[in-house]
């Protein structure tokens, strides 16, 4: 378990002064992930919010080696970095023990980058892939992704007069990754920082590919006041919309179990992107969303109890 005092005493690897929105979840995640790393790290980022706000030339928020290549290929790029590391280490040209972290948003991970991610894990590159999941294409102005929850308003799934936002459920990417049998996979969120830091350490210690799907509240796209980021993040967990769990060696473990499972309306009402659902002609969209959340949560409970 990480101690806050120790973490705070570390040299910052992801520094302030960047151009993230006030209350940005992704920037908090980048900082927490790098704080957790105990070895020197090399970082890659896919095109997206994090890349844009952290590196406008000639400025960089990264105090660690960093590469941005394109939108869909951070997993392949970091696979190449890790392969070069193995090659040069074998030849004695690199002495230190390094770790490799790829950051991608849900667009770069769930959608356009899923092929490269699948390839990276299948080939067993020892890279930690972090999806900072803000549940839409926020960098280009809030368009739907396959991580966008059902009912959410985005600019390409707008809350209309006859269609109440996005019609489809979220893709369960964490389970898709688990089907690859990675060395470690987990869901985390910034509101539970200690859980997140612990998971980053486990992932970096695991000898093989690892994956963290980290819920990253976006005050702009989710439409809430910037000071509410941590509260929204915690409510996602308490309502079981974003279960915190891990998978390693064939075993599921729920790492934070809410004392009292809150109805999803507690989470939905905090955010403007769901406001239209409360004014909708019937309660079908909210009911179906709740059913989806219950189904996934109950299945997760069974899986974690079964082992």
């Amino acid at each position: 378990m990480a101690k806050l005092k120790e973490l705070a005493a570390q040299k910052e690897r992801f520094v302030g002064g960047h151009r993230a929105c006030a209350g940005c979840g992704a920037s908090i995640i980048a900082r927490q992930v790098l704080m957790a790393a105990e070895n020197p790290v090399v970082v890659g980022a896919s095109t997206g919010c994090l890349e844009v706000f952290s590196t406008i030339y000639p400025y960089s928020a990264w105090n660690v080696p960093y590469i941005h290549n394109a939108f869909e290929n951070v997993a392949a790029t970091m696979a190449g970095v890790e392969a070069a590391y193995r090659a040069l280490k074998k030849k004695g040209k690199i002495k230190k023990d390094l770790r490799f972290i790829a950051f991608g948003g849900d667009g770069g991970t769930y959608d356009i980058g899923i092929q490269a991610l699948s390839g990276m894990i299948e080939r067993r590159h020892r890279v930690l892939y972090v999806c900072y999941n803000n549940e839409a294409y926020m960098n280009t102005g809030i368009q739907r992704s396959s991580a966008t929850p059902r009912g959410a308003h985005t600019t390409t799934s707008p809350a209309g007069k006859v269609i109440p936002g996005k019609l489809q459920f979220r893709k369960n990417l964490t389970e898709i990754v688990i089907a690859h049998e990675p060395a470690y996979a987990a869901q985390a969120t910034l509101g539970y920082w200690n859980d997140l830091v612990t998971k980053v350490r486990k992932a970096l210690d695991a000898e093989g590919p690892s994956f963290l799907n980290i819920s990253a509240p976006c005050r702009l796209g989710w439409a809430y006041a910037p000071e509410k980021t941590v509260k929204v993040s915690k409510m996602a967990v308490e309502s079981c919309i974003w279960p915190l769990y891990e998978y390693q060696d064939g075993k599921y473990r729920i790492t934070i179990k809410p004392k009292e499972k809150k109805p999803i309306t507690e989470f939905l009402k905090m955010q403007g992107r769901f406001a239209h659902l409360f004014k909708w002609k019937d309660d079908v969209p909210i009911k179906e969303f709740q059913e989806e959340v219950d189904f996934i949560w109950n299945r997760l409970l069974k899986r974690s109890e079964a082992l």
């Binding site: 090399v42 080696p65 970095v81 699948s118």
Partner: protein, 390 residues
């Protein structure tokens, strides 16, 4: 050592001797063999390379970028659709100034789908900021693969060395191999100024670059291309001095006293040299220019070569789909705009999708060029040679 090798085998042998740190590749006809043979070298312990058998060419090029940015010597191989899938990343590799060498087999781009030779794949990538060298035979492909690694690393530019699908890639030829020990000696270690793996001196590579700096950075990339020809010449000369095989930037054949000449690329250069011999036996003064280095375009050497004759037939194995004819033709015409000596010029688009070109057909083209010389006029600037209904 003199051996019999196909173009693919010769390129794979070169890769084995180069022994790159990282090869990330995806198989595609007709370059599959290069990747297969190399995988066997890896699994037989003949190279130290980390072989990354990626899930697509897009990831191949992406992984090569990551590895090259980490200071590794990096190679890959592809063709046609594979190069097209890499297209986005080609520009990024060049913009980030990452040396990477692609052993490429020229195959037509779909549609219609086809696996045979034309140059549409590399021509579609000609503006990506990569060096491009087209070879005439397996020997040249082997030699150039070794040379290009050195050129790319010295210029900090990625490069493509290509052979013609099946004609070279699968044709068995006499190839003279360099001693295994000599290739690493010729190349030396890759010198690296900045590496992602240097955690004590962290760099940020690939930042967002807007109106205030993008242009300067792009200009410096263009500068690198402007200044790379002397590096190419130097490496070619070093190679020749060491191994006895010298290569030019622009290959001139029997050009000095020629009245008419054709300008070609790739394996057709070899076919055309035989046609030149036959025509010369009949007392006809014909010559040949073969564009070996295509990117950067060797303006001075090419202008000099083109200016030696009165009529030029430019043979393009690709079309620009602009109604202006082939790529080489447009480049050749463009550089002659300010030349005092402007030969008459006709464009022959030929061989698309692997349509064969024979010695006799090239002789027929020479005869047409003599007719143009006689009449002093080009009846039609661009013709499609060897296609039905033309």
């Amino acid at each position: 050592m003199i051996v019999a090798r196909t173009g693919n085998e010769a390129m794979a042998e070169a890769m084995r001797q180069i022994n790159p740190d990282v090869v990330a590749a995806y198989p595609i006809t007709p370059a599959t063999e290069i990747v297969q043979l190399f995988a066997k070298f890896v699994n037989d312990g003949l190279v130290d390379t980390e072989f990354v058998p990626v899930e697509s060419e897009h990831s191949a090029c992406s992984a090569c970028c990551g590895a090259s940015a980490s200071g590794a010597r990096v190679m890959t191989s592809t063709a046609s659709q594979g190069l097209a899938l890499m297209h986005e990343i080609l520009f990024i590799a060049a913009g980030l100034r990452l040396p990477i060498t692609i052993c490429l087999v020229n195959r037509s781009l779909s549609s219609p789908i086809n696996i045979h030779c034309d140059h549409s794949d590399t021509m579609a990538s000609r503006d990506a900021g990569w060096l491009q060298i087209y070879t005439e035979n397996a020997q040249e492909a082997y030699d150039t693969t070794i040379q290009l690694v050195k050129m790319a690393e010295q210029a900090l530019l990625p490069g493509i060395v290509s052979t013609d699908a099946f004609i070279i890639s699968h044709g068995m030829e006499r190839v003279e191999l360099i001693d295994d020990k000599e290739v690493p000696k010729f190349l030396g270690e890759r010198k690296v100024n900045y590496s992602l793996l240097d955690v004590d001196n962290p760099i940020t590579l690939g930042p967002l670059d807007l109106q205030d700096y993008f242009f300067e950075h792009k200009r410096s990339e263009i500068d690198a291309m402007d200044n790379v020809l002397p590096i190419i010449e130097k490496v070619q000369k070093e190679f020749g001095d060491k191994f006895g095989r010298y290569y030019p930037i622009v290959d001139e054949y029997k050009l000095d006293d020629a009245e008419v000449a054709i300008l070609v690329m790739g394996s057709t250069g070899g076919t055309a040299k035989v046609a030149v011999e036959r025509m010369r036996e009949k007392g006809k003064k014909v010559g040949l220019i073969r564009a070996r280095v295509y990117r950067p375009f060797p303006k001075d050497a090419m202008t000099k070569a083109l200016s030696k004759v009165k009529v030029i037939g430019v043979m393009d194995r690709s079309d620009t789909m602009s109604t202006l004819g082939g790529h080489l033709y447009n480049d050749a015409r463009s550089i002659l705009y300010k030349s005092d000596n402007q030969p008459l010029m006709k464009n022959y688009i030929y061989g698309l999708g692997g349509r064969d070109i024979s010695i006799e057909e090239i002789e027929a083209i020479y005869e047409q060029l003599f007719d143009i010389q006689k009449s002093g006029e080009v009846d039609k600037d661009v013709v499609y040679f060897g296609v039905r209904g033309e």
